[in-house]
Symmetry: C2
Subunit: 313 residues, 2 copies
Amino acid sequence: MIKLQDIVAAQKVIAGNLHRTPLIGSTYLGNIVESRLLFKLELYQKTGSFKPRGVLNKMHNLTPQEKKRGVISLSAGNHAQALAYVAALSGVPSTLVMPESAVKSKVDATKEYGGEVLLTNEDLLSTTLAIQKERILTFVHPFDDPMVIAGAGTVGMEILDDVPDVDVVIVGIGGGGLASGVGAAIKSRKPNVRVVGVEPEGAAGISKSLVVGKPVHLDSVQSVADGLAAPFAGVHTLAYVQKYVDEVVLVADEEIVEAMRLIIERCKVIAEPAAASTLAALLFGKIKVRPESTVVCVLSGGNISHERLKSLL
Amino acid sequence: MIKLQDIVAAQKVIAGNLHRTPLIGSTYLGNIVESRLLFKLELYQKTGSFKPRGVLNKMHNLTPQEKKRGVISLSAGNHAQALAYVAALSGVPSTLVMPESAVKSKVDATKEYGGEVLLTNEDLLSTTLAIQKERILTFVHPFDDPMVIAGAGTVGMEILDDVPDVDVVIVGIGGGGLASGVGAAIKSRKPNVRVVGVEPEGAAGISKSLVVGKPVHLDSVQSVADGLAAPFAGVHTLAYVQKYVDEVVLVADEEIVEAMRLIIERCKVIAEPAAASTLAALLFGKIKVRPESTVVCVLSGGNISHERLKSLL
């Protein structure tokens, strides 16, 4: 498993290349849960989500030969954009396997960043691995990779540096890369800070994996939070969540949407559903916090088309 | 007319009480106009718009006796919230005359801040002045007051401090208070910086006033940008715009809405239509800028309910 020094190393890799994202508070929303409530705005990160942190750290650790041949991954959205962006930044060719059903704006953004997009109706993972083998590319996993996890951990470092008195950090869980990294960073430095993960009811891969003690594949996922709709838990991420995350709670789609509306009206920022899940868990009582606590909700991304936003509001 | 020193004094009044708002850039949107494009995020100001800057400066300059009796104004939205907020901050009673048709969320917010709200179907101004006389209150004009203009000018000071190489500043015009203050601040310090005002086609009070050379009252206003739908130009603000604003351009409602969508998708922030008008003017060619220019669009506010946002997207 990665150590604190790996996350510190990742901080150095991303410094100057990616944003150190700001935190904002909301007195109104904080009052509802009798706490000091802050949002970590990863939606302002390059490409609109936290994803390039892990990808850039992974890219930095590739050999010159691997870089020359190029990278590949699968994604319906944020990871694809992040990999295409970071690869272009590093002068590395990138191939992104995306589902035919992917949102057009995300496909377009990935192409704009310079990625080669392959759309498929077949199984994403097997398609990706077949092309990887054929073209001898390096597979950059969306979440289940120690270097990707270390990169995501930089979010936790920034929270601790900016909010030294933080009591609770809430983070969404899809594949679990962000929760793994944030948990590792925070528990390594301040074990008393509580780290809570949030999954959608319709994509509870980590929750189910925690019950059976090994990574579970879901037959189907159904959630408004496309960013959290990973069909399986990672081998690595499950181990990190077991070790570093205090609890994982579930939220319903309508709770996520209500939280998204409140963030828009009160904070004037666009949190995509995956991000809003953190506030949803707090507002709808899935997470109890002591009065006067300092709570940080990580808003992991803000990539949503205006058409989809309209349909959700 | 106010002098630079009045705006500097206003800066001291608001420091510590209101936010010094950040700027963000958008490479994507900047590329469209071949410029470096920045947004001044007044939507993150207290109460969600730039309005408290002017109101707080005005409040600071009231006598103890005036403060004790209280303040009154008329507004359908942002000014009402700002006055209620600042009055509460200063321990001053506030009365807000709002139209029966005002958006419920803005009425509620004004009450939450501690303002007494009087809803009326009658003429707003005459109703307000009648109550002012009866209760012996101080009228805090939404825009046509030198102290309010000086407060708004602090936005211009912050832009010059944060973007010393700015070439063009674009600001929306309703009654003209923001454009007056920003224009005065910028032209007093750097006369070569171009200041452009933007009005909606359906509420072109200042444009029409500039033509005839005196403040015009509009028989009706019709714009998606409720924050710019002032039914008349101010005596003061017209003089400031004549002196300090290089040009005033018009934008159509559909251009404003398209700009709002782009700001949401690309910058992840909620700009209300009045704010998005600045980008609309730039994107739709109403303002020509030299390639490689540094352009700041002031995003004046972000107060919009999720229901209304849904209807516009």
